[in-house]
């Protein structure tokens, strides 16, 4: 796509950025994965919308389990959640698996 100087690419406005940070665990090693999606943003938006952002399960009993911090920056909304490993199932697991597969690590 040809861009004129000083003009932001139009498709960036519709872009999606998803960050997954895994912390805790016995080792206490933090790892993170990030996806920046533009052309296939709609697929990612659907994965993000499938997650229950306002109803994240709690796990007060476990010790040394991973904690997953997930942030999704959509064109018109930002979602953030801290998901205990025991509740990383269903749509959460699907989203995290996809970010780990498609994203960059570091």
């Amino acid at each position: 796509m040809v861009q004129r100087k000083g003009e932001r690419p139009a498709r960036q406005a519709a872009g999606v950025s998803i960050l997954v940070v895994r912390s805790g665990g016995f080792a206490g090693l933090t790892q993170q994965w990030r996806v920046e999606a533009h052309d296939d943003a709609e697929e990612w938006v659907a994965l993000v919308h499938a997650c229950p952002w306002s109803a994240v399960g709690r796990d007060a009993a476990s010790r040394d389990r991973f904690v997953w911090r997930i942030e999704a920056h959509l064109p018109r909304a930002v979602h953030r959640a801290s998901v205990p490993d025991a509740h990383l199932v269903g749509p959460w697991r699907t989203l995290v698996d996809r970010v780990q597969e498609a994203g960059t690590r570091g």
């Binding site: 016995f26 206490g28 933090t30 009993a61 476990s62 010790r63 040394d64 389990r65 911090r69 801290s82």
Partner: protein
């Protein structure tokens, strides 16, 4: 002398025996059955005294069950080894079984504590959890061990410090109940490292001077530049690897890490009280489980609030040392020096050394 683990049905048989040579054994077995819960195991030792009488001694014994999740995340998995069973072909199963036994032995033989709850709670573990799972955890009821990914981590059952660490989360749950966040969370973690290290030292008969003070030694594969996951003696030095980065643990209170990840950095800031314990043990010398470990164990049972912070815990260890060894004892001096060595202030600490809580 014969020593073994006695299942309840055998205790019942011994208790009912009226053979004269088993009289003492029968009495002991009856007492155990009367006092104990139905599923509790006991250790029976038979010996002959000077007059060739059979002497039976019953002491607390572990009640272990190991299950195999077969690389799924479904708990508990299929039972593969129960208390008293012979070793199996699977090394992870035997390591978990032996590690639970070594942890039970430290608590029972040194501190007189019968299992996690002090009342003979069965010890349950699951191995081969998940696929290439890089972790071991306590879920409130059982210890769960992953196999590691094979590239960074190997089996999580391979170190007694890990198994002792997980089981101690259970002990803390049944005693101080420290919340798993921020400073009380870092104390919760540190207590698990302290007794995890002591399980290994007790099993190997190491002194404070000869012990490695490493947590999770041998868990990393050869690809990783590092000796262990944590060092209690020198937090921040356990590994320095191009892929994993450098061990991020602080060694003193001035470098406490403020973060929202990892429940407020509970696995990072545990380095501070870990090193305080090492300093106490090092100064007292000898076997660390005898004095330093006893003071920490007494503190755990001293009625700590679940929200106790570093300074509150430090004051509680001084109070515990004063109670057991006297207010002007060398043990109290060592505990003070330990906390002072990591820069944790002791509230209301008077120069006369009579710390009160």
């Amino acid at each position: 002398m014969v020593a073994g683990i006695v299942p309840p049905y055998l205790l019942s048989r011994i208790a009912q025996s009226d053979a004269p040579e088993f009289q003492q054994a029968a009495v002991a077995a009856r007492q155990t059955l009367v006092h104990d819960e139905p599923r509790r195991a006991a250790r029976l030792t038979l010996s002959l005294d000077a007059e060739h009488n059979l002497v039976a001694e019953l002491t607390d014994g572990p009640n272990r069950t190991i299950s195999d999740a077969h690389n799924t995340e479904t708990l508990p998995g299929r039972q593969v080894r129960a208390e008293g069973d012979e070793p199996v072909a699977d090394v992870a199963v035997n390591e978990a079984y032996d590690g639970l036994g070594a942890t039970f032995a430290l608590y029972s033989e040194v501190y007189g504590r019968n299992s996690i709850d002090g009342r003979g709670l069965p010890l349950d573990g699951t191995v081969h959890y998940g696929s290439l799972y890089d972790n071991a955890f306590w879920n409130g009821d059982r210890m769960v061990f992953g196999d590691g990914d094979g590239q960074v981590f190997g089996r999580f059952t391979s170190s007694f410090t890990v198994i002792g660490h997980e089981l101690t989360h259970g002990v803390t749950q049944y005693t101080a109940g420290l919340v798993y966040k921020d400073q009380p969370g870092a104390l919760n973690e540190s207590i698990s490292d302290v007794f995890g290290a002591l399980v290994e030292q007790y099993a190997k008969n190491q002194t404070a001077a000869t012990a490695s003070w490493l947590i999770g030694e041998g868990l990393f594969t050869k690809n990783v530049k590092g000796v262990a996951l944590r060092s209690m003696k020198a937090p921040g030095t356990a590994y320095d690897d191009p892929r994993l980065g450098k061990d991020p643990q602080p060694a003193d209170f001035a470098h406490y890490v403020k973060t929202t990840d990892d429940e407020g950095g509970v696995h990072l800031n545990s380095g501070i009280p870990n090193r305080a314990f090492y300093l106490v043990a090092h100064r007292l010398g000898g076997h660390a489980w005898k004095k330093a470990g006893q003071i920490w164990y007494d503190t755990l049972l001293s009625g700590l609030r679940p929200t106790t912070d570093f300074a509150g815990f430090a004051a509680a260890t001084i109070a515990a040392a004063s109670k057991r060894y006297g207010g002007s004892s060398a043990e109290v001096d060592a505990v003070r020096a330990g906390w002072s060595g990591v820069g944790v202030p002791i509230p209301g600490d008077a120069a006369d050394g009579a710390a009160k809580r």
